[in-house]
Symmetry: C2
Subunit: 251 residues, 2 copies
């Protein structure tokens, strides 16, 4: 089955399988982690699995908010637009991210895949059912939403009060912190390799800057030996602490 949006194939594959949740590698990172194994079939039966190709949207700002999504693979950018095309990326949704919390009838943002993205899709009605039957899920969603709010406030501080240099440092440090936790404290002094599935333009739109300022600022951080830029989609943090101090406005 192939859904079409504006004449272009958006979803290359949709799939229903009550057992998807059992083998889902995203479960430990997502809201689904609060559902018992025994109840997982209920969840799986309510979900539709989709794959979204890079550059394609699965949520449109202002569109009817009929579905909720859970990212199980890949990364998507979330953004809002002004009529003249100015864009603000409000976040990047990676594995485990729950999307569509908006209670309003229409979505407040768009979501576009940066790499092939796999999502579980739930209808509004199905999610309501699930929430009624699994209070733990509702608790978890409240927890997730609360955390999102904290992150959003931190981003407001960044956008409203931080310099370009501080914004880039904050962005890099935040990315480091979401690296596989297994490394833990140990890597603080050593090299930390960040994967960047988004373009410089996306970073600029996320940090409220222009692509040129992002580029210039990264170049300067590199010249100062705080980072390395092996290629356009990777950055290595050489001096975590120094960068962290810049990020928090301590320098």
């Amino acid at each position: 089955m192939t859904a079409m949006i504006r004449g272009r194939p958006l979803i290359i594959d949709t799939h229903r399988d009550p057992n998807v949740c059992l083998h889902c590698q995203a479960r430990p990172f997502s809201v689904c982690s609060v559902i018992d194994d025994a109840d997982l079939q209920r969840l799986g039966a309510a979900a539709v699995t989709m794959t979204v190709q890079p550059g394609h949207s699965f949520i449109q700002e202002g569109g009817q908010a009929e579905h909720f999504f859970n990212v199980t693979a890949g990364t998507a950018k979330l953004y809002k637009l002004l009529p003249d095309g100015r864009r603000q990326v409000t976040g990047f949704a990676g594995v485990g991210y729950f999307l569509g919390l908006a209670v309003s009838a229409s979505y407040a943002f768009s979501a576009e895949a940066l790499e092939p993205v796999q999502v579980c899709r739930f209808s509004r009605a199905k999610l309501r059912e699930l929430l009624d039957d699994f209070p733990a899920l509702e608790k978890k969603l409240l927890e997730v939403a609360s955390h999102e709010l904290v992150v959003a406030q931190e981003q407001m501080l960044l956008l409203g009060r931080k310099t370009a240099r501080e914004r880039l440092a904050s962005f890099l440090i935040a990315r480091v912190k979401m690296l596989p936790h297994c490394m833990g404290q140990q890597t603080v002094a050593t090299k930390e390799r960040i994967d960047l599935p988004m373009t410089r333009m996306d970073i600029a739109d996320y940090l409220g800057l222009t692509i040129e300022t992002v580029s210039r600022t990264l170049s300067r951080l590199r010249a100062e030996k705080l980072i390395e830029i092996p290629n356009n989609s990777e950055i290595v943090v050489l001096k975590h602490t120094a960068l962290d101090n810049i990020a928090t406005g301590m320098t």
Copy 2:
């Protein structure tokens, strides 16, 4: 009873009364609206009523998050600080606003009264109890948090991509929209009087600008006959539509 913080009297009055909720004029605007009259005593028994004087904080960024608050009168500003004193006001909490949703152990922001503020205070434990006993309350909180997220994303767009002029227009329009609803559509073409309990500095910190830019921009809007400024704590919107167009970046 008078609580002290850093040697200064923070709360001029605290009060326990199981029946407060019955006569609470903030109920229709707050999460408490989902609790039946019959259960209101449970709610009231769990709450402590406090009054906070202007300039005093009842939530400290980074402090232990032991309580949740519900504003029942007045307005507070919510803000985050950088080490060098740069401030970002993340929002203004008016009547009905629920505060402290953060799940973390410490608050992510500070809250300071702009005018005498009355709040209901709940302990973490008590709120958990209430949430377990009243699923509707949990649902409502999720709804509230989701709405807050939408508002936060809109603010990110403002801070990241809008001009000073657009920011002020957005701020004024948002304030107009939260005027008593009884007026409805009718006043769109007529005068709309906005009350500003915050200083120009607070507005600047909310919009990611300086006090001078706020002042200049308001002066220009006045010169263009889009607004009137009868005094420092009031603004009259003369041309709602024109201002709205500026706010949404249509001009």
